[in-house]
């Protein structure tokens, strides 16, 4: 097991290198020159050449990439071309916001989906099942920004401003500067709508998947055996059926990570949250090469690490699966 995890961790390296390299090359083929926006009105050809030299932008792309990589292994993520701020510092400030959003949205998804799927599968073709499947169908068809808009209409405008429509209050202890506000209550109020906006779609996909694999599992012989030997309904459903039904579900949830990153960008944009999603999209649109590299790196890392976690979850769900 330990060797397997080690092997997988080593395999992460080429994937991350490849993603960051492709992003590096792609960003530099974006029309436009960040030096132009740095210099602004004071632009002269002479200054531009100097600035390009200063940022190392005059070197061939591959050389630039290896310079970036060389600094990276020393813990230096570079500094933003436009603001001069260190990229690593910005990423670390914004990471907790996005992590909180994603973890809570997955929690929302599980809390809705697991009961809905179990009821749907155990009471197949009853009104409870139809309600669950219809709700899930609606859920997979609504983009998260529209769920967000509906939530805004209901809780920020409809209920007289019960929940704040935008901005962020940090969790105590994660506040990056003295000017920002931090409180548990304020944080909860700010994260509720974004977490639901991102979680509902996930809940719908999970419900559909889990219901389908539950239906398959409860017809297997080992479930019949478990019932025949007099086991109560609760252990049959949770220990025998649900655990096995979760295997294909976890796989697909792993594949969903790519969509989750897009979802985080959209939801953070809608609710004006200072997370990694807004950081990434702003950096890409502004062509801030160093910031984009930082965003690509953290996204690629999250992507491969989550996929590894998915594979490791299998051994918990099904002890027959062993990695040597």
């Amino acid at each position: 097991m330990r060797t397997y995890i080690l092997k997988r961790l080593v395999q992460i390296v080429p994937t991350v290198l490849m993603i960051t390299f492709v992003v590096f090359v792609m960003m530099r083929s974006v029309p436009g020159d960040p030096v132009v926006s740095v210099l602004g009105d004071a632009y002269t050809e002479e200054d531009a050449i100097k600035a390009r030299e200063a940022y190392g932008l005059d070197k061939p792309i591959v050389v630039q990439y290896f310079i970036w990589l060389g600094k990276l292994v020393q813990g230096d993520w570079g500094a933003s071309i436009l603001t001069g701020r260190p990229v690593l510092q910005d990423v670390m400030i914004r990471l907790p916001v996005t992590l909180e959003l994603i973890v809570l949205s997955m929690f929302v998804a599980l809390v809705i989906a697991v009961p809905a799927a179990i009821i749907g599968a155990l009471r197949q073709n009853t009104w409870a099942d139809y309600t669950a499947t219809t709700a899930a169908m609606i859920g997979v068809s609504i983009p998260e920004f529209f769920i967000g808009v509906l939530l805004l209409l209901a809780f920020s405008i409809g209920l007289g401003g019960l929940l704040p429509s935008s901005g962020w209050v940090y969790l105590p202890g994660t506040c990056p500067s003295i000017v920002c506000s931090a409180s548990l209550w304020g944080n909860t109020m700010h994260v509720l709508m974004p977490a639901f906006a991102l979680g509902v779609g996930r809940a719908a996909i999970l419900t559909r998947l889990l219901r389908a694999s539950m239906l398959e599992v409860i017809r297997t012989e080992y479930v019949t055996t478990a019932r025949a030997k007099g086991l109560g309904e609760r252990p049959v459903v949770f220990k025998h059926a649900l655990k096995n039904a979760l295997i294909p579900t976890v796989t697909v949830m792993g594949l969903q990570v790519g969509f989750l990153i897009g979802g985080a960008i959209v939801v953070e944009t809608l609710f004006a949250m200072p997370g990694l999603g807004t950081f990434g999209i702003d950096a890409i649109v502004a062509r801030d090469y160093q910031q984009v590299q930082g965003f690509a790196l953290i996204t690629a890392l999250a992507f491969v690490v989550i996929n590894l976690l998915v594979d490791l979850t299998y051994t918990f769900l099904d002890p027959r699966i062993r990695y040597a």
């Binding site: 609504i142 808009v149 389908a212 790519g258 979802g263 959209v266 649109v285 992507f303």
Partner: protein, 311 residues
């Protein structure tokens, strides 16, 4: 993202409780007829087909149906509340919202359908060739596909749109179509390659070769038709996903640019005024939802009808 259906196809296959009864006259019917008959039996699929057909008509006759031009400004009529003149009100430039929502159907359907078809026409041949010839061809093609798949899809689509630089009108729409198609090509290549790997070992393919049938002929006439069912299902559900991706890119300001009416953009633009004019964001969002729902229902029904393992 709420990416509709295709991602969980694997888990759903063979598990859906559709309980399609196989009647005695099945043997005399062609597979296509059987599929259509099963499709018509499913209420949800019929609803999906009706929604999709209605949207196609709206897109086709947008000029006739829309009461006004979707891009005509009227500074005297900004933020008008819904009325007989403007059933869905007007936006901050005094443009008729109903006309914008109607014309938005065109962009949404055009990008949704054509991006998926483009991905299909590129991805399917790659998958056929990789699966059929195997060896080095296979590993080169699939490496490239894995490279694209290794990316979180939105990261790639967003960067592609920044490279293409979003613009308005038809050119802008083609750019969005291209960006979405590129991220979807590997889905088809993988799907088709998988089917080909099993089909090419069948005896009828061996007998084709023995008869001296050329490879392109075998691929086109004997292998491709046998992997059509999953391609059709993936395409229908893929349109739903593509429409969401298009709306999302538009929402982020990276889709077809204004004044061309696009639902995602309209929704985003009107969120700024949500406090005073809550209905403005509602309608483009509803339009996206209904469109995606239509394709998802249709796709789900098609899967049930085409997959014989579900019997």
């Amino acid at each position: 993202m709420a990416n509709g259906g295709e991602s969980f196809r694997g888990a759903l296959e063979a598990a859906l409780p559709v309980g399609i009864a196989v009647s005695a006259d099945d043997r005399s019917e062609s597979p296509l007829r059987q599929a259509i008959r099963r499709l018509r039996k499913s209420t949800t699929a019929v609803i999906g087909v009706v929604i999709v057909a209605a949207l196609l008509l709206v897109a086709l006759f947008a000029d006739v149906l829309a009461p006004q031009s979707p891009i005509a400004n009227d500074q005297t009529q900004t933020f008008a509340r819904p009325s007989w003149d403007h059933p869905l009100g007007t936006d901050q430039l005094g443009r008729d919202m109903l006309s914008r929502v109607i014309h938005g159907t065109r962009i949404s359907l055009l990008v949704g359908v054509s991006s998926v078809l483009l991905a299909l026409f590129i991805g399917v041949p790659f998958g056929l060739i990789a699966g059929y010839y195997g060896g080095r061809v296979d590993s080169v093609v699939m490496r490239v596909m894995d490279l694209i798949l290794a990316f979180p899809i939105y990261l790639l689509a967003i960067i592609l749109m920044v490279i293409f630089t979003p613009t308005a009108g038809l050119i802008g729409t083609i750019k969005v179509t291209g960006a979405i198609a590129i991220v979807r090509i590997p889905i088809y290549a993988r799907l088709v390659r998988g089917s080909v790997l099993s089909i090419k070992e069948k005896e009828y393919i061996e007998s084709c070769r023995a008869l001296g049938v050329r490879d392109p002929m075998i691929l086109a006439r004997h292998i491709l038709p046998n992997c059509l069912a999953p391609i059709i299902v993936t395409t229908t559900l893929g349109i739903a996903t593509s429409i969401i991706v298009e709306a999302t890119l538009s929402f982020l300001g990276l889709g077809t640019q204004p004044p061309t009416p696009s639902w995602g953009w309209d929704l985003k633009a009107n969120v700024a005024f949500i406090q005073a004019n809550p209905w403005l964001s509602l309608f483009p969002g509803l339009a996206i939802f209904v469109t995606v729902l239509g394709f998802n229902l249709f796709g789900d029904g098609l899967r049930d009808a085409l997959d014989p393992r579900l019997k």
